[in-house]
Symmetry: C2
Subunit: 230 residues, 2 copies
Amino acid sequence: MHEDLKAVQKAPLFSGLFPDEIEQLLAHAKRRFLKAQETLFAEGDRADAFYFIVTGSVRLYRLSAQGDEKVIEILMAGQTFGEAVVFLGGHYPVYAGALSDAALVEIPTGDFVRILKANGGMALRMLASISMRLHQLINDVQALTLETAGQRVAGYLLGQSPADANSGDVHIQVHKNVVASRLGVKAETFSRVLATLRDLGLISVAGNDIHITDRARLIQWRDEAGSGRS
Amino acid sequence: MHEDLKAVQKAPLFSGLFPDEIEQLLAHAKRRFLKAQETLFAEGDRADAFYFIVTGSVRLYRLSAQGDEKVIEILMAGQTFGEAVVFLGGHYPVYAGALSDAALVEIPTGDFVRILKANGGMALRMLASISMRLHQLINDVQALTLETAGQRVAGYLLGQSPADANSGDVHIQVHKNVVASRLGVKAETFSRVLATLRDLGLISVAGNDIHITDRARLIQWRDEAGSGRS
DNA sequence: CGATGTGTTGATGTGCGTCAATAGAAGTGG
DNA sequence: CCACTTCTATTGACGCACATCAACACATCG
């Protein structure tokens, strides 16, 4: 386990912990390895552990009654997930599945809560962390109701690239249909939006590598309702 | 202020506080009175207080670049809002406005955070509270992407009435366009869905009072994709 | 080098928004 | 208490953004 110690304490949530607290946190932690597409837990499962991603990527998603899938979040190496749910009834509110082969650290919630109770700063940092996710979800709700598909895609590209230069690169690290689902559009629509932006000369696309050639005009296009009008 | 003491400590969030802690929480609290439609704070405003609703109702909402509004949450007397945001950058992520004349208690965040640091149980209860909102927002995202307008409206009616009887009443306490926005549909669509359900004999509508005559069939109608097909 | 899976592009359908007219409900003033 | 205004809610006609269905291009891999 100690080989993962350095990685885990880089997670923003744990950055303020003392070495002995990290030790305590990982006392009963286990390594977990997932094959691509493998399911880690299902919605409604008893939540007695949360996870840190050492390598690979994971998606959190919901299923409709008809079996359609909506990706709530895409998570990459270095991120944690499932910790917010510990405080609910103790059941996961989403499915979790690997997008690629992945290595995780599984941390029992009991140890986590114990530290949380003892360490006031930790609890506040945890509150800040959950608040950020809350904020993100509010943004998602706004985007899904007040923005067009084009605006959401453009916003995604803008959010994935640094804002300080007028051109930049976005590398999509997972399959495009997963990103599309995350954005609340069908894969076909996602593809069409990229094609439109390419034809407008705002971006260039080479597989999963997208180059933003004119960030300013891309922002302008998004704010003008993303192909809706004008 | 003491006349509000009883009311405030009924909020689930504060239920576990000792009287002296409540005292401390309300030490610098102020009463606030809002006229219907009045704005309490705007998105981006510095968040140095959160609120408890003594009487009246409040909506939290976002505005699009074009000025369209999406209601994120409808809050009634007895509820608190704005507390989740204290831990972020300290700026409100939404607008808040009164739906009716309202009386609030405004609690400075400083006092709140102080109690939170001292009282470990309080921090955990706060985490549970925020987690519930997180869960609710995940439900909203799922509903907005995987459900039809009809399904969302039916789900709303079902959620507003007790599940233990096959018939029940829902009283809409605010204007229907507010509920519609909360559900992510236009007021016209909301009205049409209610008309459809009425014509199917599943509900009866009298102004803002809706009577569910056949809960079982309403559930079935929702699960069959809410007028989408079949 | 065929097989399988992902992404792109085209043709068509439809759920719901938009625009518009009307009906009620509620509030206002004489 | 009743005209008049104002606002919310309902209903109809129409259009559009996006989904759906389908064919194809391309990549990856055994």
